[in-house]
Symmetry: C2
Subunit: 394 residues, 2 copies
């Protein structure tokens, strides 16, 4: 599995979803209901039903670890097994990685644009209900600090965070009553949403009720830079110098970068994160590259379709580094030789059907920080362009 | 729930996902594991845990039926209930409808571009694994003929279809052996993928093996119009005049329209369908518009955030038609009056927590055909622009 190119002129891709693939693999079975559907609708024949009833992947998976960066042609995942066993995994593996890599890549760009300021993932409502959970996981892997998706907290241990909604303020007889109810319930360290009616009045009310220990205020509309400056000044003049400003409202990596000089303490990102900020799918493909011939010899194979270059053979991959430790090339080889000054990129994930490469999400998040730090500065250009390092095939 | 605007300059939106909302509502409960997570992480307090443990939506849902078209401000779904009960549904309802409406809207555009030619949904691998199932459902609702997603067939009764993969050809010693194996298994009515090596040779081999009854050939690369003309000529000269040509390869509504004069019999669409063809989310929002005051009187409410116009009050909606039956305006009213020459757009979906508006997917698909036929011709312009009819508020 690899990407022919990085869609949207991305400079690098982020591997994400491998952990979910390993989870999915362990429960990838055909139940009675599914088999009955396939039988009753004559979709497959009796021997195939029998094969599916006993299906269990018994082959090997080998690939890039989550959090690693990838480039065009990087062999992110290699599946070795019988054709029938391996081809059945094609859709589920591509679905998971195409989605999760796209989100993690967008997240990584936003994290860089935000510098040292934390990012909260808040996009669940703008994507499919289960994609939302995977998106929160991928965002955290890519460097986001927390998510408003509680299922991602439950399932994957992603730290959770939230703020109040406009509806909560509108529900009360006055904004003051709403703020008081929120502070009574959650303490003065809470985040008040201050743009339901009049921002300056809401900030005044918030500090009046919570005192200078008010945790944060959230701005969700207007020219955020201008409003943030005004609110910062107002908070400081009220003695709430430690009260933080969280901004939301259709942010993406570009608007986050544009706010870098504004007095903003944290960003909440929704739509653009869960939709991959213009690149909702990673364009990964799953191709047959080696088959065993009648003599039992492994033979490289490749199609010759126009405009879709394919390379046969099982790939090994290394990241070549210069003496300062900066990445200079992605080396993809079928020779079996290990190049010098190069970091091997693949690891054993599944052996004989058993998962051997599971790890905590936190490890993947940490790996991403290291992998992205290794890239040349050009990797962080937000404009469309070429991959930050070339892929060299041998 | 409504859209402030139609993103991507769409001329109309398609309501999809309501059926999935009704399904989700029936199983929207908090289990022991979820409650333990919320408790152990001190996310909510003990009285809230208790409330959640007994949670069951007991209010009403009222809204547009699936397949109906919508415009900016159309009150697609109205949720009436206690604040606590209704606010808990916000994320799941928005997730489902933001996703499904975006996909169905893209599907509807493609269906119009394809004219009388059928469209097969083949995008599962380019989106989250569960979003894929919902996307296949939404595509069928929007007018696609079938899907390659078997779970959508199983779960929602969407007709299923498929073709062979390049890997199947590459697996064999020769293309001829691969075709023979496929024909032996699936009969001469099957669809052969003919662009793995050389298209002309593959077509010759296919007709040689299957005879003039060969069902279809699939083209997945190259200049599809040019290749389709060449293949049509070759098939006809070989006597395979009834063999159909299916084209795939990153199609969207624009490339489908561009192929309208090419000898193509059916289209397979993947990436662009499941990602909403540039609009992966429908921008629907869920806003508090009416609350009961201390005197028990229902009062309209609305926030006053800059640049995000909101209108308080419970909305009723009607589609105004001219004497020829063509839609001329979307009427959205809080007055309770029913305008003349106008079709009411809302129906009761849930009453006192019980689903009363369930229906077959086929009914929604049929409704969409009727709803889209009612729109003025400008609705079918593929270019970015304004909504096909204005929304008139009173």
């Amino acid at each position: 599995m690899f990407a022919r190119q990085l869609p949207g002129g991305r400079r690098y891709g982020v591997v994400a979803g491998t952990g979910r693939v390993l989870e999915a693999l362990e429960s990838f079975r055909f139940g009675e209901e599914e088999l009955a559907f396939l039988h009753d609708n004559q979709i497959v024949d009796a021997p195939t039903i029998e094969f599916l009833a006993g299906y269990r992947f018994s082959g090997d998976l080998y690939g890039y670890r989550e959090g690693e960066c990838y480039f065009p042609g990087s062999p992110i995942l290699t599946v070795a097994g019988t054709f029938a066993e391996a081809v059945l995994l094609e859709t589920v593996i591509l679905s998971i990685l195409n989605h999760d890599c796209a989100i993690a890549t967008a997240a990584s760009r936003m994290v860089h644009a935000a510098g040292s300021r934390p990012l909260v993932e808040m996009g669940s409502r703008r994507t499919h209900e289960m994609a939302a959970v995977a998106a929160a996981r991928a965002a955290y892997l890519g460097g986001f600090s927390s998510t408003s998706n509680l299922m991602a907290g439950h399932r994957y241990g992603v730290p959770t965070a939230g703020t109040a909604a406009h509806a909560f303020t509108l529900l009360h007889d006055s904004e003051k009553q709403a703020f008081q109810a929120q502070i009574d319930s959650l303490g003065t360290g809470t985040t008040l949403l201050v743009d339901t009616y009049d921002v300056a009045e809401a900030v005044r009310t918030g500090v009046e009720l919570a005192g200078p220990d008010l945790g944060s205020v959230r701005l969700d509309s207007g020219d955020l830079a201008e409003v943030a400056h005004a609110v910062r000044g107002q908070l400081d003049s009220l003695g709430a110098e430690k009260t933080r400003i969280l901004v939301t409202s259709d942010l993406d990596e570009y608007t986050i970068a544009a706010l870098s000089s504004a007095p903003v303490d944290a960003y909440g990102v929704g739509t653009s994160l869960v939709t991959g900020s213009g690149v909702p799918t990673a364009a990964l493909v799953y191709k047959l590259v080696v088959r065993e011939d009648a003599e039992g010899v492994m033979q490289p194979v490749a199609k010759r379709s126009v405009g879709k270059p394919s390379r046969g053979g099982r790939k090994e991959a290394f990241r070549q580094l210069d003496p300062t430790g900066t990445a200079v090339a992605e080396l993809v080889t079928v020779s079996g030789d290990r190049p010098a000054d190069a970091r091997p990129l693949q690891a054993e994930l599944v052996r004989g059907g058993e998962v051997v490469g599971g790890e905590e999400l936190e490890a993947a998040r940490h790996r991403h920080r290291q992998a992205v730090a290794e890239l040349p500065a050009t990797a962080h250009q937000l404009s469309r362009g070429y991959a930050a390092i070339p892929t060299v095939f041998d």
